[in-house]
Amino acid sequence: MAKTFSFLAGSLALENRPFHFKSVEIIRTVFDECHGYVGYKLTTLGRASDDDVPSFLVLTQEHGVVLIDVVEERVLEVVSSGGGEYWRTEDGRHVLARDFATDLYEEEVHSRLKNDLTLYDRKSRRAKTPIRSVIVFCKNKQDEIDQLIDADTAQAVGIPIESLQDWLCEIPKTYQCSSDELGRLYALLEGTFVYENKETLVEEVPLTTVNEYIQRSLRTTFKQDDAQRVASMQLTPGPQRIRGLAGTGKTIVLCLKAAITHKRFSDFKVLYLFNTQSLYNHVQTLISKYYTVEAKKAPDFEKCVQVLHAWGGRQKPGLYSRVCEQYGLVPLTLKDALGKGDALAYIYKDLLQRLGDQLKPEYDLILIDEAQDFPREVFEVAFKLAKGNGAEKRIIWAYDEFQSLRDTEIKGPSELFGLGPDGKPNLPDSVLDGKYAGDIPKDFVLPNCYRTPRPILMTAHGVAMGLYTKRPSEMFYHPADWQAIGYRVNEPRALMITAGDQVEIERPDENSRNILEDLLRQNNKKPLKLVQIEGFGSNDEQTDFVAKKIVNLTQEQGVSPDEIIIINLKSGSNKESMLALQRVLTQKGIKSVIPGYVESADVFKPKDHVTITTPFRAKGNEANIVFVVNAQRVASDFTLRMRNAFFVAVTRSRGWCYISGYGSGMGDLIAEVESIKQDFPKFRFECPPQEVIQSSKSFLNKSDRELGKIQEMLELIDKNPELRQLLVDRSQD
């Protein structure tokens, strides 16, 4: 059973507050069975400083809101001055009286609740949600406390820490709100309500066209799920990895971490590093939206929160160009890096060679989005730029889980962050083991997919891993790894899955947040039709099918052409095949673009145009309708590259996905997809031995030339039965 009461540690792990940790333990014990969470200084609700915020905010379905402020130091007396009340503490400081501060904060909670009439009664001007406050003294006795807090004026009660448990137990469990109401409470108090797509009142029309279904499915309000919330609201005192598929909310989690850190530690310097140019505005907007409401001012993108592309262009600074400028280096240009393999790896390697140990730690927090796209040189530079020593460096990177298919394995910290002067890894893999204080996992997994409907996602996973073939290409032997990508292992019920086991794995409905599947079911339509696969006799027939389908979608089903992308899996002469497809579309009056081949690479999904592209260029993009064409080589491709490309292509869709190809190769793929659909929403297969997986994957690391040769050889064997016989004879010798 999943835990229902969580702890959002915020920045607590970064601070030395022993009584706070003690209080948290008490709170967690008392509320263990409740539904909700306790958060440390989660949000200032727009108050100027964190000092004005009570230590803990508890939200539960059973109790409503409980504010708990923990006073670590001994308080001597109350001093009134200039319209405020202050406490003098034993170390001689004067602080704002906590009961006064907590009362003010309680008012802010009140104001937030006013935004939602299910939580607030306008007539009586009272919140429907109960709000309670308590000030917990750690070094004062009850009689002293009664002197400090005037029970007649203060809303909050004062108690010594010894009484906390009893006080909490006595709160009546009478609120009992719905989980939907709890969700709204979360969003309002955390400030994430700014990300909701404000729903203007729309009349409910019966759904008929494809577009109506998709638009309805996109209209749901954004709500952070528990995993995202926990990941965003925790600031770690060292490295952390966030894993998740495309569409699980990695970017929003990193943006919230950036905004919260900026709010909480205004002198911190934060770096947000990413790889896709188009993310620039998106990231800044996400950070601003949250920060502006919470801090009542705009974030400082100049000095404090630097959102940088890894390289940078002429107009927009990147980390590379900025570092070069700072250290007076002439930056290499794209031209210099041409033909040198991975261009980013080349320039960062050059940077390390030229500057190496001169690079000075500069950032208090480094967030790396799309980490799977970066070569290790970038991580090494990030390591050098982060303040602190080794495992104290606050570097948080978001990794797309399924990249483990492209590489043989997900790269661990020891491989990413380079070697120290002693030849040992800068960060050993063990830095991701276990948890930080405050129950913060060092390796965090976001299991819920928001973009891709479940039938499409499972088709993509099933084919990419080859689960329904004789030679699967990927297998997770630990149930936790399945959980990480949003599946539950039904059989075998064991800690490990071993070769030969009959495996049953299910994708629970709640891990796919795209509601299209439900919408279709409610309207007596078949959700499995979201994925359709068809084989044709010739390329012309395939092209004709795609063109006709697009005409139907745009003219009958209300789909806008720019919400359609066609992804061509053909390797080799793919330009000519895309141009040919475009000509047929032109003849049917459908306009299209081929970014990177005709138009520039960034001309993606322009208005009124269908986008024709390759899996590589489609990465990071999404569309309501995706056509995956020329899939005839997927099933037979021994290198697995086709299966990877297939995965990337299919998961671009947030609505329907049409897979097609021509020739004899399609039969196997159709059979695979149909068996996946048959077992939906489960996978049933026999667990393959590790050696099979290893040998399947062994081709991933070979160069294109080697693979080309092997391919030639295989074709030769296919064409010559006598050669085949020769091989069989030989292997028997």
Partner: protein, 223 residues
Amino acid sequence: MRYAQAHQGVLNAKRILAPITQGDSITCDAPSRLISWDNYKSGIMKGRYYPLEYQRLIDLHQYSILMTDGSFFQFFYQFNEIDVLQRARLAYYPRPINTVDSSDDLMLEAEQALDREDEFLYEHLFNWIELLEQGMSIPTNTSHIRFDYDKFVTSHAPAHLQFGGVQNFRLPANFCPLPLAFVQMCQALIEKINPIDSATLGFERNNVMKLADQLELIRLAAE
């Protein structure tokens, strides 16, 4: 020439170019008597390096017909409410073609330029030699060709032929052609086009817009 004829003219061009058409953005708006292309943006880029100009127009889909060889045509005609042609623009943008000079050729020229103390040419050539030798880039000297008509212009001839690379050079004409006639002018530049012979151009010949005779350089022969 009236709107109806320009409309027919553009359809003729479309039909002839159909076998080599890659993209088609032609729009014909009868109520406003306008022949143009989708998302029409006015103005031309001046002083831009041609490959950049070409790519920018492709990205913004500023063409009537894009052809399989990557070149494209623009056809634009605007008539007023009493069906009199106000402005027209017919342009052909070839795909940028690399020059064929080797770096040795350029080096020789550069040295000679230096002898003549022509520092501008020397610098220019020398930069290109560097790029050529790194295998980075090859210069092009392609440019677009266009036929403009503007009823109200006074500073130069209302109808003229012009070349993208040489901004202020205009060959005045005493006519404004229909699209297919312009296509025929350019046909030698287009790959895989079916030759357009004069016989095909009957409609174009009969409906060309003739202007009052001045001292034009290009003129239609009297028939």
